[in-house]
Amino acid sequence: MRFRKSGLKTKGLYFLLLLFLVFPARSLWAQVDLTGEWSPRIYNDGRDVGDYTGIPLSEAGRLRAESFHPEQFDLPENICRPHSFDIGLRVAPAQLYISPELDSATQQIVDYHFHAYWSDFRVWMDGRPHPPEYAAHKFSGFSTGKWEGNTLVFTTDHLKEGFITRVGAPLSPKATVTTRVTRFGNYLTMVFIINDPAYLTEPYIRESSWVYDPQQVIPAFPCEPSPEGTIIPAGSVPSFLPGKNDILSDFAKEYGIPPEAALGGAETTHPDYLKKMKTMKTLPRTTTKHFERQG
């Protein structure tokens, strides 16, 4: 009889359990699915050489940027050089495919694979540590992530020296990039915060967005140096010595911007800089139709 009573109690508790099941409850996790095809909606801003506007470059960063020559990308060694992951996601057209990799035994997400037309990297979600500083640095870096609410936040280091723009603003191997990935319905927004003690005086923050596009097909991107060679003679590395960049001020002249402002720096990013700019001289403009060449 004791067990019969106990059975009744158990049934009562089962009923209680049923009530819990019936009551609406929210998800155990604040997980948002990022997987799938994403079509870019960042439009390449087409920076010109000498356009470092808004970039908090340090003196060292500016020196490196000013030595850049656009023909460096035509060197055989650079033809197939990958972009660092941040700029690789921002160069149009950076179609993106995100897929999780699951551990077959535990079904835990081991990593998210970000595959873009110009960039490819993994974000490790399994709690593994970052490798020691002496480990290999790559253009894709090494990324570990975690969820903060509905936002995937990942940190990337072990980056190879590269660029943060396509006109030579440099990125050092000491840089760390924090990326925040948030899905707003059909939109995916990434916020990149670049901390680079070598070339930046402040964090450089910028964003990109994509639109969910399940029909998207990312084309193949075969790349190999032309068998005929490149336009750059062997043994030559195009560059500018300090103070000898004769195309540096072209951007400022075309856009009517004070040359000093065009060289960037943290101060130029603040609204109050507008007052200072009023006191600066601009160079005679060479055109007001600069935008026509960008299509």
Binding site: A25, D33, D45, I55, G149, G185, V191
Partner: protein
Amino acid sequence: MKMPYRIALVRIFMFAAGLALVLAAHLGAQGFGNQGRGAVQNPATRAPRAAAPKDLTGYWESIVTEYWRYRMVIPDKGDYVIVPLNAEGRKVADAWDPAKDKAEGNECKAYGAAAIMQVPGRLHIYWQDDTTLRIDTDSGTQTRLLHFGGSAPANRTPEWQGYSAASWEGFRPDSQRAGGGGPIRDVSVGGATGAVGRGPREVGGETSGYLKVVTTQMRPGYLRKNGVPYGANATMEENFDRFTDPYSSETWLVVTTVVTDPQYLMEPSITHAHFKKIPEGSGWDPTPCRADEAR
């Protein structure tokens, strides 16, 4: 009829395990273990001010790191690079006449809701009441009212800042479904066994959720200072997110803006703006709307 002792033990064990999982689901759903205040209760049951998952109030300064040449200077006439303008939009943009705007008292055309976040300046965000979040801008001295729980009244006269309906979003995967897109894993009570499976949990001090604002009834204005138009039927969706950069410890507000305008745009235009938290009142510099200056 006595129940065998072992069977009773197994039943009790199974019941205890099931109850633990269900309780975990409910407690997890109620935000237990979260450090943020907003995830504690379903926001639908609380006043919007009390339910705010993130505190967006305070003073914020725009940091112009991208599209500097379109924001810190007035772009040249005809420069609508990266705006998906259609032919009619280009025609209107090509007819831009700031002197005419000034003479007709339309200097606030570039300070409307669809553009104001792009104008360099500062924001003061505060609760006007429990259901209205207010944004004052020092550039153009504009005021935006974000109404929670309301909808735009019919036959309202269009204004520069339109009517903004606000909601807290991103509390649960269900809310992400509204936008369509890829499959959303929703491990609610029915899938409670997933509690030991894959998936991120809320970690760190950040909480789930963001502010979504949909603005309509805007008076036609400019997306850019150089007369790139948006029309009377344009609608705007914004998502506001706040976070702290772990490296610099600076707090940021990022606004993703999607403007849809069947009259002048070929497709929705997506822009971003980010603001750094600043001490109360610091640098506040109210300026009137000006057709011939960047702010």
